[in-house]
Symmetry: C2
């Protein structure tokens, strides 16, 4: 965070001259900004994107690339999965909350198939293949996968289990995994067509621009931004609107300490540009906020290992169905188990784990033992506590049952010696979900509830579809969806 | 929440006339407002308190009245407890967080003895008697009690256990309990001397005034408020400053849904005036916020019952030392156990529970059974799960040990038939802790980090000492402490 970086709004009359002028000025060239640029330019608006780094992409470009879509996308249908906006809504309201915005979630579900079509029309490709394994990413380049615990308890009782993690194909005809591709994961193959289309439509981008302040006229309308470029003052006039799409605040220690302290110093899936400054620019003119405590959380063991063992806490108790989404596991570890957990497996289960998606070797257990008594002693769990857990688990697993956490019978089998355990303590990371309060038009709302004229936000600069819970693809999904809306709302403004 | 209630700041030049003028204008006549009024008036400032209801008191007046103080108060010393600001700081940083403000907590601890003396000088009385029982309130009118889990694990390993819950004596020479006194609990006997002193010092109060908007001059200085009185516009000029002290936002469903959804529709220890409007008044001029998700949480069984049984979750697992502060128990139930918990006791333990402080009969168990197998079946806990928990608990309790949660040996004894269980599901309530960001001078901070000239806040309108965790007395404690600071800072302003 830059010391003494200004944030207070600048009166329009105080701006001596403009370095650039456009109809729609977009701050940040990640997935939300690129989507806004495409949509505004499609409407014929003159678009200028201001990006702080030397190139487009943001966190999106470096991500795995999951986009959370459903309600009956052509890909879902081609692969035999029946989905409806209602089922998707039921799932998201449960999985993205507590406190998910019903109006926004409904809107997102109703528009999801159209959004898929829009992405495909842009040139994003989804391979017609389903990955039927648990995991953070598909084992190869399959286009569809469970990415939010849809098929695990209790979510599988709330909505019909359907996969909604849509993954852009990494390269035409390639079977390479995201990892083998290096940083060019699925996210790159989502971003590249967006940026290409924006350029085709005439949107311009300026790099190395640090945007500091909104410019506001006497009526309270946002009509530009000020900042610096190569260390010199830089002022950009926006005739129709400014779109803030500069990511989360995970790299702003002061904000994280005040709003989401458990995430302090533990960023993940974000770039260092996620400094929350764009959120503060909105706050400075009375913009309201939403759910500043929420975080996407990842970390812990590979989900394909989780399902074949049991996850236990500091005192050896199970606490979650091991076959749910890895992000739900990580979130439960951080927020409900004081960031302390262990994965206990037996040798047979460990041997069954497929090769790592990364191509590297399987992680080795931190402890191994021939008895649970020995294992719990080595792990520092009170004698008898893990033993009681394993005894009860085994008793039910032998019957293919898990009345405590309802793990799918596929993964139920009594654990037998020898045993191993993995240390999952203090390994969670992620990005913040809270941000500026927006409506479904991506207008930023003042604390009075009225839209602030000329100001729009999307992606993790706004409070969106995921507010506390998460599913892989929820942020690229709502970032691109409401980025588009921001571009449309700004582009249509006169 | 009043529909269409204005919140946007009013330019000074747009105010046609002033109905009242004072040096320091205080919004809200609870503990923070009263403390601000006393301090500002002590400095010779002309003080006007605007209260929305028909009388002073706020939530404080209806509360039990605990004030969290320490560091070696005369009451602690008289009762043989050695405390230091450092021990108090270590405790509060652990118990009020995660994310407690180290600067504010240090300041509060260093000033705690002085604050005690100030209260005594005002006429607040603390009876020199220690209540050596767990509980929400003392069994009678004792002046000192553990009120935050200081003597329970893990906090007893973080700081030397010392009681810091100071309770104002209810009536001179009376042994009546807070309950028998009706609504006039300890909180009334804290508030009455404050209000009396404020009046003696010439502070005026106007009731039935709804304050809506801040008035701000061209330089951005807060110089008054507007609102309504008896349905007519009402404008008050503040020469030196405005102090916002209007309570939490627990009764504002829109804000609760966006910032602390688990608390939606479940207010406690607050008045309906806690509508968050004063927080929004600050936000409207760019004031920053702190930790909007935090909540004081109460509910569940009487702590004197908890200690004599075991608290278990949905699947029969223990999750907390049963002898810790009842608010920590309630918070763990709501946030870590999905608001589901049960208290399991045996008949012998139940018989040992003293008469209720309220004078009413002991609650009856929701389930009773001669075996744990029968009990868990009746409670809907998977067969064998509660049994495993009780077996392990008993095995260690027989040796006076609790290696899982370190409950004090005083309360450890194997549970024996017959058994009973109490349903504690969905019974938590409380008030929000988040609010305007302030410094130790109680100046409200703009998102830029600079103090907003003329604007001060305290009590639950501000983010204070308790940000997520809580101890009984933390809110009256920091409300009165930083209310005083607000009064001083505003009163000293020229």
């Amino acid at each position: 965070m830059t010391v003494d970086r200004p944030v207070e709004a600048v009166p329009f009359d105080d701006v001596p001259a403009w370095d650039e002028t456009a109809d729609v000025v977009v701050v940040g060239y990640g997935v939300a900004g690129a989507s806004a640029a495409v949509e505004a330019a499609t409407l014929g608006a003159e678009v200028l994107v201001l990006e702080r780094t030397g190139g487009w992409g943001g966190a999106a470009s470096m991500s795995g690339g999951f986009i959370y879509l459903g309600g009956g996308t052509p890909l879902q249908e081609a692969l035999g999965f029946e989905d409806t906006p209602d089922e998707m809504y039921a799932f998201l309201m449960a999985a993205m909350g507590p406190g998910a915005d019903a109006v926004k979630v409904r809107d997102y579900c109703e528009g999801s198939v159209d959004h898929y079509d829009w992405l495909v029309e842009l040139g994003v490709r989804f391979k017609e293949e389903f990955c039927d394994e648990p995991g953070w990413v598909p084992s190869a380049d399959q286009g569809l996968m469970y990415s939010g615990g849809e098929n695990a308890w209790p979510l599988n009782e709330i909505a019909r289990p359907v996969p909604r993690g849509h993954l852009p194909q990494i390269a035409e005809g390639s079977a390479r995994t995201a990892h083998e591709e290096g940083e060019r994961g699925g996210g790159y193959y989502l971003m590249a067509p967006l940026v290409e289309r924006a350029e085709q439509l005439g949107a311009r981008a300026l790099y190395d621009v640090r945007t500091d302040c909104l410019v506001v006229d006497r009526a309270g309308t946002v009509c530009g931004v000020t900042g610096t470029r190569f260390g010199e003052p830089f002022r950009v006039r926006a005739r129709r609107g400014v779109v803030l799409a500069a990511g989360s605040f995970i790299y702003n220690d002061d904000m994280v300490a005040r709003f989401a302290p458990e995430a302090l110093g533990r960023p993940g899936s974000a770039t260092e540009m996620h400094d929350g400054h764009a959120i503060r620019m909105g706050q400075a003119i009375g913009a309201d906020l939403g759910r500043m405590d929420g975080c996407e959380v990842a970390g812990g063991a590979d989900p394909r290992m989780n399902v074949r063992g049991i996850l236990v806490n500091r005192v050896g108790q199970r606490f979650i169905p091991e076959d749910t989404y890895g992000g739900r596991v990580a979130q439960a570890i951080r927020y409900k188990q004081d960031d302390v957990a262990f994965l206990v497996m037996d040798d047979a289960g460990y041997e069954e784990v497929p090769d790592m998606v990364t191509g590297g070797p399987k992680p080795r257990p931190d402890w191994v033992a021939d008895t649970i008594a020995e294992l719990e002693a080595d792990m520092g769990i009170p004698a008898g506590a893990l033993d009681a857990t394993v005894t009860l688990y085994n008793r039910y697993a032998a019957r293919g049952e898990d009345p405590l956490f309802h793990k799918n019978p596929t993964w139920l089998r009594p654990l037998e010696p020898p045993y191993g355990a993995f240390d999952l303590r203090h390994r969670t990371g992620g990005f913040t979900l809270g941000g500026l309060r927006t409506n479904t038009r991506s207008e930023v709302l003042h604390v009075s509830g009225r839209p602030i004229p000329g100001l729009f936000a999307a992606g993790r600069t706004a409070s969106g579809v995921p507010v506390w819970g998460y599913a892989s693809g929820a942020s690229l999904g709502d970032g691109s969806f409401y980025g588009r809306r921001a571009g449309r709302s700004a582009g249509e403004r006169r």
